[in-house]
Amino acid sequence: MLTVSRLSKCFGELFIFKNFDLELPKNGFTVLIGPSGCGKSTLFNVLSGVVNNDGGEIKWCGESVAHLGGTSAYMQQNDLLLPWFSLIDNALLPAKISGENIDNARMKARSLFKRLDLEGFETYSPAEISGGMRQRCALVRTLMFERELVLLDEPLSALDAITRSSLQSLLVMLQIEFHKTILMITHDIEEALMLADEVLVLSRRPMRILDRFSLRGAKLRRIDDPDLIKIKKYVLNLLQEELDI
């Protein structure tokens, strides 16, 4: 589905990553985990075309593209809901911008509100609801994009533990029910092990892949599984060593 090969990005002399390779299978859930400041978010900015790359190739469905700006939806820690719009108008933003039929989009948004348990809050303003609900609304907006690839940049890290676990199951839904291909950044190793089909452990700058794990089993996985605990310890060790250098 997505193949990234020999992708590089530098700021002046400083290489954030050099000859970075990445492969995402269709409808897969890939999680990147790494020490903070390793360049994960820069990778997302390069992939989505917010900043230019300094060499390398991005292939989408076998075709070489400059960036994934037109093919991916992006969701991050900050829900980025516009305070002057109601929740439904925020969800309709992609439709308003692309100029598609707003009535159809409204119907679709309403059913998504229902599915994500936001029904009845359509006319509320973002300031009136909780952080978890805001992030769910941001998720609706992300789904309204109609893009196959979803880039998630620590989407849940600003939420409290209880809200987070309820939203983690919605991320699984994103993959299974809406057939999205997902690339997610997280700092939370447990979250990675609960959600991912494949976990990539990243090094410090210049960023490269230290190790990778393919995971099986129905999601959300229980984190007390002995195999997962072993992997968790190993990954934590790996990241610890990265920080100690």
Binding site: N45, S48, G49, V50, G69, G70, S72, A73, Y74, Q76, N78, L80, L82, P83, W84, L93, P94, K96, I97, S98, S125, A127, F145
Partner: protein, 246 residues
């Protein structure tokens, strides 16, 4: 009435009362400094004479505000869209404010005549600047993450302007507008001083020459009421439009 309002009202009354006492206590003649009671009496009882002048000045100010609004919105959007334009015209904009309105007032009267056009323009020259500067700053202050979001959604400049930059800059716009309307009368009155046939500035010059200082003060009272009403109206609009900030 709220406590803060009561305190403000009390302060005004204290100032007026001491003014009144100073005038009567020191036997200051009316043509030097009339007491507030006299000024209010003139402002109210001579309203018939003063009102047409006030209407003229109000008209100049309002048209000036409308013109400067249009100019400010267009200018700030163009400067925001094209930083090179901003670099080019910013010095001229600043220069237009550095030159005292007094200096250009006689010129404008020569060019545009004794009618209201020269006063409207003078008011507009003063008002457009704070609105333009604030709007531009408002656009620029827009959060980078939101801009990226719009970029990723494939929004062009005008859609981003309408859905993001404009609402984002609205609080800035209103602070600029508040500054603008509160100084708007300056331009109009100066224009009327230099040469006019009608208006509160004209009335003041005429009355001053005859040592009718009470009329001068009455005109000032009317001007203040005008500026204050504009300010209150803009504040009211602001609260109606910007509902997402409390």
């Amino acid at each position: 009435m709220r406590r803060s309002n009561l305190i403000a009202l009390a302060a005004i009354l204290v100032i007026l009362a001491s003014w009144e006492m100073v005038c009567s206590g020191l036997h200051i003649p009316d043509f030097i400094l009339p007491p507030p009671s006299r000024i209010i009496a003139v402002a109210v009882f001579q309203a018939k004479t003063i009102l047409p002048h006030a209407v003229t000045t109000a008209l100049e100010v309002l048209i000036g505000i409308l013109i400067s609004l249009m100019v400010a919105v267009v200018l700030s959007i163009v400067m925001f869209a094209h930083p090179s334009v901003e670099k080019t015209i910013a010095p001229f904009l600043v220069a237009s404010q550095a030159v005292p309105v007094f200096a250009i007032a006689p010129l404008l009267v020569v060019w545009l005549g004794y009618g209201i056009a020269s006063k409207v323009l003078m008011a507009a020259v003063i008002i457009f600047f704070p609105i333009t500067v604030n709007l531009l700053e408002g656009f620029k202050s827009c959060n980078q993450e939101f801009r990226v979001l719009f970029q990723l959604m494939g929004a062009g400049f005008w859609k981003t302007m309408r859905l993001l930059y404009w609402p984002w800059a609205l609080p800035h716009f209103f602070s600029g507008l508040k500054v603008g309307v509160s100084v708007a009368t300056i331009g109009a009155v100066i224009g009327e001083w230099v040469g006019a046939q009608q208006g509160l500035g004209y009335l003041m010059i005429q009355a001053n020459a005859r040592l009718n200082v009470d009329v001068v003060f009455a005109a000032i009272v009317w001007l203040s009421i005008m500026g204050l009403s504009l300010w209150i109206f803009v504040g009211f609009l602001e609260r109606r439009v910007i509902t997402w900030k409390s």
